[in-house]
Symmetry: C2
Subunit: 234 residues, 2 copies
DNA sequence: CGATGTTTTGAACCCGGTCAATGATTGTGG
DNA sequence: CCACAATCATTGACCGGGTTCAAAACATCG
């Protein structure tokens, strides 16, 4: 709408790093050279600054996306305008791929949680490619399957565990070691983690302080765990 | 384990009704005659009485299922043994299809909520068919997409709405009319609906009585709505 | 008509949301 | 490089929705 000078929707060439991310996603990994070329032919690179909208619920769906860098929030609104995150997509994650065979409208809002670059694939083109090339349909199925399993995990986590337990699960899933001390660094702001776990930011804060007695210390984005095994007991 | 005399795991012929259900699922609808025959060749019919387990989390995944009649609960357990439903599958629903390209172990428990008959498809055989036949891979993608969208709906519902609102949503989604009075019949026990909405049975009961003042009356499995439009305001 | 399983209701409790105020970080322009 | 603004994170107080446990009312089925 308004003619701002800030960068957005600019079509750029892939950097080497972006290209490496792209090749490792389930969505493109394992494609033959030919399929890869055809996918790239229907791809554009999109850069968005923080808080910009990628698309909104109800809009006509013309593309699916793959995150190259940064994080994207998928969320839905209720009538009063409260937001609930459905998924947080980071580098390598694909979103809106469920629309290849699932309808023609976006079913949720997508917003850049920070500055992001995305690979944008034309939906209709991917539909046609998936019909023709077996390795592409296989990649779509793999991507959909993973995505579905993780969303089912999300439902189960919401329903089974309390806030401190969900935070502990998150930390444990990212700890490189099986026992003893560990340290991880959050790849994004805490408010984003809160939404991802289905919590208000305040609840995440309280969960962290509740975990202090289990040997979890948080300073900025760095989380240190005294004993991974002990955290597993929570 | 024990040698009971009750019917279970008996391989039966399809009834006409079961066959009709099967042909309308996204998983088989739209298949060519040839693909259909090959799918049927890898299918067996399984009957289970209420509360019997179809499979358990962690078991080696060798099949996917399509519900022909009755309802199946997909749920997960926490360490203390509390259960949380992830999905309720009714006639025409497919489950464990995410394992075609998503791993070799069941990721949740599946249990017959009542007497059920299921179509059981060998997972490895479907994998191979999906590689060969384009219409089969397309059916798999369609099924996965729908399933994913509905699971994302579930996350959003859990996070956005209160118990009475979720119940109202459930009723509204099943009301044949847009306004005025309506009446629907629950296809299963209330405790199953409770789990489906992420509630304890008591909470569902209270939600129903909270909806009385909005013109919702419940008698047994029959739910009557005075004014559908009014219910939409909740 | 008992016997078993299901639903409802009541009471107590607790988790997490909301609001408000204070601290900590980050970013920006002088 | 510092000072200020803006955003983000933490903490406290409060409240409400939902769970849990226990008991009573209802259904269902033999």
């Amino acid at each position: 709408m308004e003619a701002t000078t800030e960068m957005m929707n600019s079509n750029l060439k892939l950097t080497n790093r972006d290209r490496a991310v792209l090749m490792k996603t389930p969505f493109l990994a394992g494609l033959s050279g030919n399929s890869l070329i055809r996918m790239f032919a229907n791809m554009t690179v999109v850069s968005l600054s923080a808080r910009k909208s990628v698309f909104r619920e109800g809009e006509n769906a013309d593309a699916l996306y793959c995150v190259l860098s940064g994080y994207v929030r998928l969320y839905r609104l209720n009538r009063e305008g409260r937001e609930a995150d459905i998924r947080i997509c980071g580098p390598g994650d694909t979103f809106a791929e469920c629309l290849i065979y699932g309808g023609n409208q976006f079913r949720y809002n997508a917003q850049a949680a920070e500055a992001v670059t995305l690979a944008r694939f034309d939906l209709q083109a991917v539909r046609e490619l998936a019909e023709q090339e077996k390795d592409i349909s296989k990649a779509v199925m793999t991507s959909l399957s993973r995505h579905l399993l993780s969303t089912m995990d999300c439902v189960a986590n919401d329903r089974l565990y309390t806030a401190p337990q969900r935070v502990a699960n998150y930390i444990l899933a990212r700890c490189p070691v099986d026992g003893g001390p560990a340290s991880i660094r959050l790849p994004f702001q805490k408010s984003l983690l809160a939404g991802m776990l289905g919590l208000a930011p305040e609840a995440l804060s309280r969960a962290f302080s509740a975990l202090r007695k289990t040997g979890v210390t948080v300073r900025g984005r760095v989380i240190q765990v005294v004993d991974v095994q002990a955290l597993r007991e929570v």
